[in-house]
Subunit: 171 residues, 2 copies
Amino acid sequence: MSVFAHHTHDFAANPDAALQAADAHFQKTGVRFTPLRRRVFEIILRAGKPIGAYDILERLRDHGKIAAPISVYRVLDFLIEQRFVHRLATINAYMACVTPEDPHAAQFLICQCCGSVTEISDPIIDKAIAEGAKTAHFQVSYPLVEIMGVCADCVREGKTPASGCAPDHDD
Amino acid sequence: MSVFAHHTHDFAANPDAALQAADAHFQKTGVRFTPLRRRVFEIILRAGKPIGAYDILERLRDHGKIAAPISVYRVLDFLIEQRFVHRLATINAYMACVTPEDPHAAQFLICQCCGSVTEISDPIIDKAIAEGAKTAHFQVSYPLVEIMGVCADCVREGKTPASGCAPDHDD
DNA sequence: GTAAGGTCGCTACACTATAACAAAATCGCC
DNA sequence: GGCGATTTTGTTATAGTGTAGCGACCTTAC
C-alpha cells in the first residue's frame, strides 16, 4: 500500500502500454503523433527515469536517425504541452507522466543520492498552493514542485547529500 | 494588508538595509563576507528582481572588475548556502531572500508576463509538502516551489501567457 | 492540383555552468 | 613578524543546455 495506489496505470513501468494509450489518445483527438514524436516518447518511457535532451538525441542517433538538438526540443515542447511528459527544471531532465490522461498537478521527489525521481500527485499540496496563490491574487498556470532530498531506499542505506551521498560516517 | 505583512523587513526593496544586516550577520558568525561577495550581493539586491549570473558578471565589469563566470557562480553558491540568495531553477535566475535571518521554506510566484517574482513563505504549503514527503518516506533537504502564472497586476491588465502576455483579445 | 499550415532538417549561435590548476589573500600558530 | 595551512580568487578552457532563422517537405482542406 503506497501513496501511488490510486494510479490505475504506472506508464513509466510499462512503455508498451503507455505507447498504445498515447496512440489511442492522439487518434481520438486528431493531434498528430508523428513517428519522430512517438520515437522520442518511447525513448523517454524506456529510460525509466529522467533523461536529458541530449541523451534523447544520442539515442535517436543510435537508431540511425540524424537529428539536431532543436528537433528534440521541439518534440519535448509538444509532449509537455500534451501533458505526456514533465520537465524537471532543477535537473534539466524530462520524464514521462505517470497518468497523462488524468489532468493533475504533480510533485516530484528527487533523490540527490541515486538520481531517482518519484512523481506524486498530492491533492493537499496542490490545494495549499492554489490557496496561497489566490491569497496573493496570482493566477496559476503551472505549479512546479520539485522536492530535493533522499529517497527511502537511500535513507535506509544511510546515505546523505552532505556526504556526497555515500553512506554517512560519524567520524 | 497582504500575505507578506508578517515580513519585518523587505530587504529586496531596501538594499542598503539588507547590506548592513548582512554585514552584521557575517560579523557575528565570523563567516567571511569578502568585497567580491558583498559586491555581488549588492548587485542582486539592487536589481530588484531576479537576475541571471551573466548579468551579474556584466555589472561587475561595469564597475571595473574583471571577472570570469566561475567567480560569479562561486559567490552565488556561497550566498545561497548562507541563505541570502535564492536560485530560481525555472528561469535560471537569482534573487535576494526577503528574510535571510529567518530560516524558512520559500515559494515563488513567477509572472510569465512581466517577469516579476514574488517570494512568499506559506507555512500551509510547507507543511503539506513535508507531510506528502513523509508519506513517501522521503527525507526532504530542500523543497522547491516555483509557481508559474500571471501576477495580480498583469491579470488586471488582461494579460495571459497564452497570448504571449499581451492583453488578451477575444477574437 | 494547389494553397496554407504544420512539421522537420539544417546550420549556426546564445546562454548557463563547471573543470583544473595557479596565484593571492587570510587565518592560526609559534 | 614569519610560516604553514586553509580559503578565496584569478585564469583559461570547456562542458552542458537551449534557440534563431530559414528552407524543404509533408499533410490537409478546398
